[in-house]
C-alpha cells in the first residue's frame, strides 16, 4: 500500500465527514449562525464597553433581557403559526399603563392589578386574533393598523395619569421586591422569565398545541385538511402573545415604576429583529424559544452598546433595520439552500479495499457459471412483487414478503392457491419461524414484527439503544434486513444501515462506511440491544447450533463473518470468507449442515477501484446526477453452498437469466429450495440434489435441544 493510499485510508477512517451531513439534518443546526452572532456581539461589545458586563451592568441587562425575551417569545408564538404581531409595542405600553395606574394611582392589591393587566393584554390579543384568525385578515397590515389604534388609545389615556403615576407610592412588598430585589445577583424578573420560557419551550416542542401551531404555520392548507381547527389555533396565538406582552409590561412597570410618551415605540421592529435574527422564519412553521432568547440577547446588547457609544436613537434604529434585513436575508437563503447543502454533503464515502484475490467465475473453479438453477419451477408468478425472503411453515405452506407490505401465503402442496396472510405495511424482508410457529419478520422502515398463526401482527421492537455520540438518531430502526433465531429464542437481526432509508439502500454502497449493525431482541424481557456495530451493510444472518455464535454477511465488504455473542469468545468477530467474488445477501441453513449463501451481484474492477478512492466518489455524488452515479452490479448473481468453516463447495447459476438471475434469499425445506428475489415477481422451487427429504427449518429446534443437552452434560462432566 502506497503512502498516498495509506493517507487516504487514514483520512477516511479518522476524519468524520459524515457528521457534517448528519448535523445538517438536525433542526438545531439552524441555531449555529445566531449562536455565533451572539458570541461575536458579546465579545465585540464586551471589549468596547467593559461596563456592560460588570455586576451592575449585568443586573441592568438581565432585567431588560427578561422583558425582551418574553416579548420575543410572544412574537415567536405568533410567527410559528404563520402570523405576525406588530402591535406588541402598543399593547406593551397599554399594559404598562394599566399596571402602573392600578398600583400607583388606585393602590389596588397587586393581584388585582396583575389580573387587570393580563386582561388588557389578552383583550388586545383577542382583537388581533379575531380579525386575523377568524376573519382571515392579513396579519401584517392588520397588526400595523392595530398598532396605530392601540397607540392612540394609550396616548389618549396616558396624560390623565402620568403625573399621578410618578407621584404614587404603591404599598406592596412583592411589587417593590420584584422591581428592585435580587437573587444570586440577578433580578427576580429573570427567574420569572426563565420559568415562563421553559414552559413555552415544552409547549412548543412537546405538546399538541405547540405542534398544531407549527403545523398551521408550516402548511395552513395541510393543517386544515388534517382536521386542525386552523382559525382557533391562529386566534389563540394572538391571545397568548397579548398575555406574554402583558407579563413583560408588568416586569417593566416594576423595574422602572414610570412610563413616558415613548414607551413601547419602535419595540415591534426591535423585537421582530430579535426573533428573526434568532432564526424564526417569517411566514411560519419554524421557530423556538431558544432562538427567541438568543435573538433577544443579541439585539439588546447591540442596542445598549450603540447607545453607550453615544449614537443617536435614529442611527441605532438604522443599524437595527440593516441587521434585520441582513438577518432575514440570511434566513431566507439558508432555508432555500439548506437541502441542497444537505444533499451535496450527506453522502460521505469511506475508504474500502476489497481483497484482490477473489476467484473469477469466468476462469472456472467452484464459482464457474452454469445452468443448474434453470431447472427450478417458478411459483406464484405475478402474485407477488419483490419477495426478498421466503419461509415455509410446519405444514409446508409457503410464505413470502412483498414490496407492498403484505405477507403472502401459498398453500401446500402445489402452491397455486394464494392468499394475503397478513398486512404489515412496510416492505418485508428477512423472515423466519420461531419455535412456536410465529413468523418473525424484518420490516424496512418499521422494525421487527411478528405474525402469529392466528394472523395477528405484533410489533416486537422498533428501536434499539442509542449510541452515545451519534448525531442522527440511530435508535430508530431504518432498515432491518434479515433475522435468525438463536437456540435460546433470542432473535438476532441485522440492520443494514441507519444512515439511509430503504429506498436509498444502494447509496449506502457508495459510502461503504460502517453504518450497519447486528441487533438482538430478547423475547424473554422484551429488550433490544445493539450487539455489534460499525458493520458495512450487514445482511444475511444464520445462528449456529452452538448457541453462542452466528454467521453474517457484509454486503458491500463482500465477506462472511462469524460473531460470538456468548460463551468464552463473546464479542469476537472473525472473517469466515473474506474474498467473495460478489455481494452477499441472505444466508440460510442447508439440510446437510452447510450454508446457502446468495450473491446478488458480482464485483467489477471499476467499482472495486472506486472503493479505494473516497474523494472520487464524493466528487461524483456532488457533481453528477444520481442517475449517472456508479452503482454496483446487482443484476446477476448466484447461489453458493459453503461449509460453516468457509469452504466453498459449489455455485448454482441461472446462466440465461430465465428465472433467478438475482437471488436474494433461499430456504431449504423437505428436499426443495425456495428462492426469493427482491426485484423478482416469482418464487423458485428447485429440487436440491442429494438433500435430506425429511429436513426442514423446523427440525432444527429438536437438534438444538440435543446440542443444549450435550452441552450441559459436558459441563457436568
Amino acid at each position: 500500500m502506497s503512502l498516498a493510499e495509506s493517507f487516504v485510508r487514514a483520512r477516511s477512517k479518522f476524519f468524520p465527514d459524515h457528521l457534517i451531513g448528519e448535523i445538517l439534518t438536525k433542526r438545531w443546526s439552524d441555531n449555529a449562525v445566531p449562536f455565533a452572532a451572539l458570541i461575536m456581539v458579546v465579545v465585540v461589545f464586551g471589549a468596547l464597553n467593559p461596563n456592560m458586563f460588570s455586576a451592575y451592568g449585568l443586573f441592568d441587562l438581565a432585567g431588560q433581557v427578561a422583558e425582551y425575551g418574553l416579548m420575543a417569545i410572544a412574537l415567536t408564538v405568533v410567527m410559528i403559526a404563520g402570523g405576525i404581531d406588530l402591535s406588541i409595542g402598543s399593547v406593551f405600553a397599554l399594559c404598562a399603563l394599566t399596571m402602573l395606574t392600578g398600583m400607583n394611582v388606585y393602590n389596588l392589591p397587586m393581584s388585582v392589578a396583575v389580573a387587570m393587566t393580563l386582561a388588557v393584554g389578552g383583550l388586545c390579543g383577542a382583537v388581533n386574533g379575531l380579525l386575523i384568525g377568524y376573519m382571515r385578515l392579513r396579519a401584517f397590515l392588520t397588526t400595523l393598523v392595530t398598532l396605530i389604534m392601540f397607540r392612540s388609545i394609550y396616548e389618549l389615556i396616558m396624560p390623565n395619569f402620568a403625573t399621578k403615576i410618578v407621584l404614587g407610592f404603591p404599598d406592596s412588598k412583592v411589587w417593590n421586591e420584584l422591581g428592585l430585589g435580587s437573587l444570586f445577583g440577578l433580578p427576580y424578573a429573570v427567574f420569572v422569565a426563565i420559568i415562563i420560557a421553559i414552559v413555552w419551550h415544552i409547549i412548543l416542542s412537546r405538546s399538541r398545541p405547540g405542534w398544531q401551531m407549527a403545523a398551521v404555520g408550516g402548511s395552513r392548507r395541510s393543517a386544515f385538511n388534517a382536521g386542525i381547527k386552523v382559525r382557533r389555533v391562529v386566534f389563540m396565538t394572538y391571545v397568548y402573545s397579548g398575555l406574554m406582552v402583558a407579563i413583560a409590561a408588568i416586569l417593566y412597570g416594576a423595574r422602572l415604576n414610570g412610563l413616558g410618551t415613548d414607551t413601547g415605540i419602535g419595540l415591534e421592529i426591535s423585537v421582530l429583529t430579535a426573533v428573526v435574527l434568532g432564526g424564526t422564519t417569517l411566514g411560519g412553521g419554524r421557530g423556538s424559544v431558544a432562538k427567541a432568547m438568543m435573538g433577544a440577547v443579541i439585539v439588546l446588547i447591540l442596542q445598549n452598546g450603540l447607545l453607550q457609544m453615544g449614537l443617536l436613537g435614529t442611527t441605532s434604529a438604522m443599524v437595527l433595520g440593516m441587521v434585520l434585513i441582513f438577518g432575514v436575508w440570511l434566513d431566507v437563503r439558508w432555508l432555500k439552500n439548506r437541502h441542497k447543502l444537505l444533499n451535496s454533503s450527506y453522502v460521505s464515502p469511506a475508504y474500502l479495499k476489497l481483497p484482490e484475490d477473489a476467484p473469477d467465475p469466468d476462469k472456472g473453479g467452484v464459482y464457474a457459471v452454469n445452468d443448474l438453477l434453470s431447472t427450478s419451477q417458478p411459483l406464484a408468478i405475478g402474485d407477488v412483487e419483490g419477495p426478498e425472503d421466503v419461509a415455509i411453515d410446519k405444514d409446508g405452506n409457503l410464505y413470502s414478503g412483498s414490496r407492498h407490505g403484505n405477507i403472502h401465503r401459498w398453500l401446500a402442496p402445489d402452491y397455486t392457491k394464494h392468499e394475503i396472510f397478513a398486512h404489515i405495511g412496510g416492505g418485508t424482508y428477512g423472515m423466519n419461524f420461531d419455535k412456536d410457529g410465529n413468523l418473525c419478520v424484518c420490516v424496512g422502515g418499521m422494525g421487527l414484527y411478528m405474525v402469529t398463526p392466528d394472523r395477528e401482527v405484533v410489533k416486537l421492537t422498533d428501536e434499539t439503544n442509542r449510541s452515545r455520540w451519534s448525531i442522527i438518531d440511530d435508535s430508530r430502526l431504518r432498515l432491518a434486513d434479515d433475522l435468525d433465531i438463536a437456540p435460546d429464542g433470542r432473535i438476532f437481526f441485522s440492520e443494514a444501515t441507519y444512515r439511509y432509508s430503504v429506498h436509498d439502500w444502494q447509496v449506502d454502497m457508495l459510502e461503504a462506511r460502517g453504518n450497519g449493525r447486528i441487533i438482538c431482541y430478547d423475547p424473554r424481557d422484551k429488550s433490544t440491544k445493539t450487539v455489534l456495530g460499525n458493520r458495512i451493510f450487514p445482511n444475511g444472518i444464520v445462528c449456529l447450533p452452538d448457541g453462542e455464535s452466528l454467521l453474517f454477511c457484509e454486503t458491500w465488504a463482500c465477506r462472511l463473518m462469524r460473531f460470538w455473542y456468548d460463551g468464552p469468545n463473546k464479542g469476537k468477530v472473525e472473517a469466515v470468507i473474506s474474498n467473495l467474488p460478489g455481494y452477499p445477501d441472505n444466508i440460510n441453513r442447508a439440510s446437510d449442515g452447510n450454508i446457502w449463501l446468495c450473491l446478488i451481484g458480482m464485483r467489477a474492477p471499476v467499482l472495486d477501484l472506486a472503493m479505494t478512492r473516497p474523494g472520487f466518489r464524493r466528487r461524483m455524488t456532488r457533481r453528477v446526477a444520481p442517475a449517472n452515479w456508479l452503482y454496483p452490479n446487482i443484476n446477476m448473481g448466484c447461489l453458493v453452498k459453503i461449509t460453516p468453516e468457509g469452504e466453498v463447495l459449489e455455485a448454482y447459476w441461472d446462466k440465461d437469466c430465465v428465472n433467478h438471475p438475482m437471488p436474494t434469499s433461499c430456504k431449504e425445506d423437505r428436499g426443495h429450495l425456495f428462492i426469493g428475489g427482491v426485484s423478482n415477481n416469482r418464487i423458485g422451487k428447485w429440487p436440491v440434489p442429494g438433500a435430506n427429504p425429511e429436513w426442514s427449518e423446523h427440525t432444527k429446534w429438536a437438534t438444538y435441544g440435543r446440542a443444549a443437552a450435550t452441552k450441559t452434560s459436558e459441563k457436568k462432566a
Binding site: G82, R138, G266, L282, L312, L324
Partner: protein, 349 residues
C-alpha cells in the same frame, strides 16, 4: 342535455338570475363594487361636512383640501404600482423626505437647484434599486423589507443631511414658487401635476408592456415567471418608479409648504397612503385595480382628513379614527376578496 338544462332554467326564474348576472337582473346593491361604495361615502361625507361645518365648503378650504389630496394621491399612485404587482412600499415617505432634503442641502451648498433635483432622483433610483433587489433577488417579503428599510433610509438622512427639523424651500427658484402657489383657472398647479401623473401612470399600466406585466406578476408570480416574464427586473423597476414618484411628491410638498419638516417620517402619512390604495379597492393580493381606484380612495381619505382637521380633533384622535377606518377597509377588502384555507398561500403574511 343542454336543452334540458335551459328549460329548467327557464322554469325557475331564480336560477336564471344566478346563471346570468351580466343581464343586470341582480338588485343594484349587490352590483356595487368597493370603488363605487367608497365614492358614494366620500360624496355623502363631503355633503355632510359642507352642511354641518361652517368652514368646510369655502374656497380656501377646498383648495387646501385639493392640495393635500394631490400629495396623498400622488403617493397613492406610486404605492398602487407596487401593490398591483403584489408588493408594497412603506419607505415612500422616508425616501421623499430624505431625497428632497438632500436636494435642498445641495442647493444650499451652491449647486443649481435642477442639478440638486437630479441628484435627489439619483438617490431615489438607488433606494428603489436596493429595495427591489432585496425583494426580488433575496426574496424577502416586500412589506417586511420596506418596513425595515424605512428607519434605515431615515437614519441615513438624519446622520448625513438633517441639521434641523424644518428645511426651507430656496427663495431664489422662481418656478418652485409658481409650482406651489400659482393657480390655473382657480385650481392649484399641484393638482394639475397630480392629474398629469395620474394620466401617465394610467397609460403606463394600461398600454405599456411593462405595465401589463405588473398585473401579470401581481396575479400569479409563479405563472408569470414560467411564462417568461422578466419577473425580477420588473419588480426592481416597480420600486424604482415608486421611489422616483416619492421624490416628485417631495418637490410638490416643498413648493406648496415653502419647506419640509423631517418629522413627516414619524407621522402615519405612509399608512394614509396605504389607506388610499386599499380603500380605493386595489386588492392587497395584487393584480387588481388601477388609477381610478386611487382617485376614489384619495377623495375619501382627503375629505376625511380635512373634515377631522376642521373639527379640530387632536392628532391622536385623528389617528384613532383613521385606524378604525383602515380596519373597516381591510375587513371589507377581505370580505370582497375572500381567501379560504384551500387557496391561501403559506408564508403570505
Amino acid at each position: 342535455m343542454t336543452g334540458n338544462n335551459s328549460s329548467t332554467a327557464a322554469q325557475t326564474p331564480a336560477a336564471t338570475e344566478v346563471a346570468s348576472p351580466s343581464k343586470g337582473r341582480r338588485p343594484w346593491y349587490t352590483r356595487m363594487t368597493q370603488e363605487s361604495i367608497v365614492l358614494l361615502l366620500a360624496t355623502i361625507m363631503f355633503i355632510g361636512f359642507s352642511i354641518s361645518l361652517n368652514n368646510f365648503f369655502t374656497s380656501g378650504n377646498v383648495i387646501t383640501l385639493l392640495r393635500s389630496v394631490s400629495v396623498l394621491g400622488m403617493l397613492g399612485l406610486g404605492m398602487a404600482i407596487t401593490v398591483i404587482g403584489r408588493g408594497v412600499d412603506l419607505t415612500m415617505v422616508a425616501t421623499m423626505v430624505v431625497g428632497i432634503v438632500w436636494a435642498l442641502k445641495l442647493h444650499d451648498a451652491g449647486l443649481s437647484f435642477n442639478m440638486a433635483l437630479l441628484a435627489a432622483c439619483g438617490f431615489a433610483i438607488v433606494v428603489g434599486l436596493i429595495i427591489g433587489i432585496i425583494v426580488a433577488f433575496a426574496e424577502i417579503p416586500a412589506v417586511f423589507t420596506t418596513l425595515a428599510l424605512g428607519p434605515v433610509i431615515f437614519g441615513i438622512g438624519n446622520f448625513a443631511f438633517f441639521t434641523e427639523d424644518t428645511h426651507n424651500a430656496p427663495t431664489d427658484v422662481e418656478w418652485l414658487r409658481n409650482l406651489g402657489f400659482d393657480r390655473i383657472l382657480g385650481v392649484p398647479v399641484s393638482l394639475y401635476i397630480f392629474a398629469l401623473l395620474a394620466v401617465l401612470v394610467w397609460g403606463f399600466l394600461r398600454f405599456t408592456r411593462a405595465g401589463r406585466s405588473v398585473y401579470a406578476i401581481g396575479d400569479n408570480m409563479l405563472a408569470a415567471r414560467h411564462t417568461g416574464f422578466p419577473v425580477r427586473p420588473l419588480i426592481v423597476s416597480k420600486y424604482v418608479i415608486s421611489a422616483l414618484i416619492a421624490v416628485i411628491v417631495g418637490l410638490i410638498v416643498v413648493a406648496t409648504n415653502s419647506g419640509i419638516n423631517t418629522r413627516l417620517v414619524n407621522t402615519t402619512l405612509v399608512y394614509d397612503v396605504l389607506l388610499v390604495v386599499v380603500l380605493g379597492g386595489i386588492g392587497l393580493s395584487g393584480g387588481r385595480g388601477g388609477v381610478r381606484n386611487v382617485i376614489v380612495g384619495t377623495l375619501f381619505v382627503g375629505v376625511l382628513l380635512n373634515g377631522m382637521t376642521i373639527l379640530n380633533l387632536s392628532y391622536t384622535t385623528q389617528n384613532f379614527i383613521k385606524s378604525l377606518v383602515m380596519l373597516i377597509a381591510l375587513i371589507a377588502e377581505t370580505l370582497l376578496n375572500p381567501r379560504d384555507e384551500q387557496t391561501s398561500q403559506s408564508g403570505d403574511i
